[in-house]
């Protein structure tokens, strides 16, 4: 392993000495950065000084960030799979540079991030020195790290300053499934707990379960609509639970054709937006009638997502069938919103 370059080592040392006192914070859930390093943890840890210095660096960024409890971590397991890694890394690299401005961290992280991060940090940090590609860490220390060229082709970013610091979080998932058997709604309503049935008002049983906290509309044809889940996996799990309830009541229920019908995500760009400007320049996509509804309705064509944009900077995205559509829609709208930031 090549030793650290003199310039970097000095910097690390300085940082280490400066940040010595604050190192207790390292045990908190760390910034999401390291997860993107996961694929690269093949290198041996290097000397301790750069590691701790780097950790404290991270912690510096950490302090700029706020509370992580609001970050939705559950999607990670599927999300950063092979094909998404490299763009994620590229994105994260840029986002870190921007992240000092925004409280929340740009990158997803593992839920059990805490203790693992340090080791990952040191792993990743150490492999910076040889000047390997695919590393994100150096961009933290904006001025002094050597910019490492990335080998992997990145999705071209329009400009660093246009990357947002936030990622939309899912608020609601609507899905449908087919139990493939006729159901006697009256029997279900009588025997099941947490079931409502009012045939005069609506021809379906409304059933709720507590974990995951969801509501289902169960029709006599055997089809069900499941709403209220916070992620696709939760929605699937909930739908299965509903199916099991029906099974236990004696019906030959199966679990077929599970399909996500709608995803709703929300996030906050953290600056006020001048909607009048937006509606004028993007007329063909926007509708804004403040006396009817305080938000601007933006109908994005690619991907097909409807965004509700509010003056406060909150954005709600809906109409997506896949999570990636929500992310892509937000990525597309962010530079446009930034343009109309109300100072």
């Amino acid at each position: 392993m090549v030793g650290p370059l003199p310039m970097e080592e000095e910097t690390y040392l300085e940082l280490y000495l400066d940040q010595r006192a604050a190192q207790d914070d390292l045990t908190q859930p760390r910034s999401p950065l390291p997860s993107s390093i996961v694929p690269f943890d093949v290198f041996m840890p290097n000397s301790s000084t750069p590691e701790t210095a780097f950790s404290s660096l991270l912690e510096e960024v950490e302090e700029a960030s706020g509370d992580f409890s609001s970050v939705d971590l559950s999607f990670l397991s599927d999300e950063l799979t092979q094909e998404n890694k490299d763009p994620a890394v590229a994105r994260s690299k840029h986002e870190i540079e921007e992240s000092c401005k925004t409280p929340s961290q740009p990158l997803p992280s593992e839920q059990d991030a805490g203790p693992d991060l340090n080791s990952r940090l040191s792993n990743s940090h150490s492999h910076l020195h040889p000047g390997d590609a695919d590393s994100v860490q150096p961009s933290l220390e904006k001025s002094t790290f050597l910019p490492l060229a990335s080998i992997t082709p990145m999705t071209p970013m329009t400009s660093v300053s246009e990357c947002s610091g936030t990622v939309p979080q899912l608020q609601n998932v609507v899905s449908t499934a087919n139990l493939a058997c006729k159901l006697d709604l009256k029997k279900i309503a009588l025997q099941a707990r947490n079931a409502e049935y009012n045939p005069k008002r609506f021809a379906a049983v409304i059933m709720r379960i507590r974990e995951p906290r969801t509501t289902a509309l169960i029709f006599s044809s055997g089809k069900i609509v499941c709403t209220g889940a916070r992620s696709e996996e939760q929605s699937r799990l909930a739908a299965r639970k509903f199916a099991r309830v029906i099974q236990k009541l004696g019906f030959p229920a199966r679990f077929l054709d599970f399909k996500i019908q709608n995803l709703v995500g929300s996030c906050d760009v953290r600056f006020p937006i001048r909607l009048e400007g937006l509606v004028l320049t993007h007329q063909q996509f926007c509708s804004y009638e403040p006396e009817l509804f305080p938000g601007l309705i933006y109908r994005m064509v690619n991907p097909r997502v409807v965004l509700l944009i509010f003056v406060s900077g909150k954005v709600v995205l809906t109409g997506a069938k896949e999570r990636s559509e929500i992310y892509e829609a937000f990525k597309n709208i962010y530079p446009i919103l930034k343009n109309f930031e109300k100072a």
Binding site: R201, T215, L275, T318
Partner: protein, 352 residues
């Protein structure tokens, strides 16, 4: 005024601000606008009740109001777009909140696009020449709306974030949200045939639209009153206009009868028709008659370009409003009585 409602009055003056007036609109101007809007709405309601009675219905439905508006396609289109937007917004908001979704399912899901369906069906039934149905496919830009958007954009560009927050709040005001007060203000309880819920929505929209029209026209009138260097058509300004211009703003009242009624033009029609034909005149009769919306747009487009920045800081004066209403009611051209809801009393409705 027994119909005076402080809530409605306050809403109205804040609406004026959001539509382009100064931050604190003048009290007298607001009173005048309220008077105009109230009179017009009462008249409209009476005519709608008449139509309802003719077809033997027990409530005034939205179809009756659409019927009254059938003559002015642009305004009708704007109303339809508004109604469709309402449907669309309910659809989207329902998809977001799961409670809303259940509510909707429970109440019988024929609610989606309900307004659109009834409007379309109705227009289908009265449409003899196919013009009205063609409106649905028509994708023309609504110039009046465009103008308003541009004005709002200009207004908000120079605001700081606190002012902008206030502006946004006042933009969100509507008569619809104060439905019961609005109903009382219109004194619906004393009518035999009462409006339905959707008809009330439309009336609330028409009230807002009337205020918007008045503010639009008043701003234009105010612009005209400033003499601009290099304006080639200042010689073609009608004599009445000069009379207003020369008299002090405060004393405009002396020659003006009741605001909503039609005043016979005191001047010979030659100069005013001359200025209308010129097309480029920044003053002169504003949209009346068959080209009402169109000529309005043409002149409106030229005026900002010709004169530069409007006087933002001044509030709209009552005399601007009166002049605007006078010009609007001024009949020009042979077909003008047939192109808006001119009825027995010959009053020109601003919103339809």
């Amino acid at each position: 005024m027994e119909y005076f409602s402080p809530v409605i009055f306050l809403t109205l003056s804040q609406c004026m601000f959001s539509l382009g007036d100064a931050r604190r609109p003048l009290h007298e101007t607001a009173v005048l606008i309220e008077d105009v809007v109230h009179t017009q709405l009462i008249n409209l309601l009476q005519q709608a009740a008449e139509v309802s009675r003719l077809r033997g219905a027990r409530v005034i439905s939205d179809e009756d109001l659409l019927f009254l508006m059938r003559k002015d396609k642009k305004k009708l289109r704007r109303l339809l777009k508004y109604m469709f937007f309402r449907d669309y917004k309910s659809k989207i908001v329902k998809g977001i909140d799961e409670d809303d979704l259940l509510e909707d399912k429970l109440s019988g899901s024929s609610n989606t696009n309900k307004r659109q369906k009834t409007a379309q069906d109705f227009l289908n039934s009265i449409d003899q020449t196919g013009e009205l149905l063609a409106m649905f496919e028509d994708d023309e830009i609504d110039e009046v709306k465009q103008e308003r958007m541009e004005r709002a954009e200009r207004q908000t560009r120079i605001m700081d974030s606190a002012q902008y927050a206030e502006f946004c709040e006042s933009r969100q005001l509507s008569f619809y949200k104060k439905a019961s007060k609005f109903r009382d203000w219109l004194d619906c309880s004393s009518m035999e045939i009462k409006p339905s819920v959707v008809a009330m929505e439309i009336l609330a929209y028409l009230a807002y639209e009337t205020v918007a029209q008045l503010v639009d026209l008043a701003l234009l009138v105010r612009q005209d009153m400033v003499t601009k260097a290099g304006d080639p058509f200042s010689h073609a300004i009608s004599a009445t206009f000069i009379q207003y211009h020369n008299s002090a703003e405060g004393s405009c009242m002396k020659s003006y009868p009741d605001s909503p009624e039609n005043t016979p033009p005191p001047t010979p029609t030659a100069p005013s028709s001359g200025s209308q034909h010129s097309g480029k005149s920044t003053s002169g009769s504003l949209g009346n008659g068959q080209d009402s919306a169109k000529t309005k747009q043409k002149k409106r487009k030229k005026s900002p370009a010709a004169c530069g920045v409007e006087a933002h800081s001044d509030a709209i004066q009552p005399c601007h409003i009166r002049e605007a209403v006078r010009r609007y009611g001024h009949k020009i051209g042979p077909l003008s009585p047939f192109t808006s809801a001119y009825r027995r009393n010959g009053m020109a409705f601003l919103a339809c």
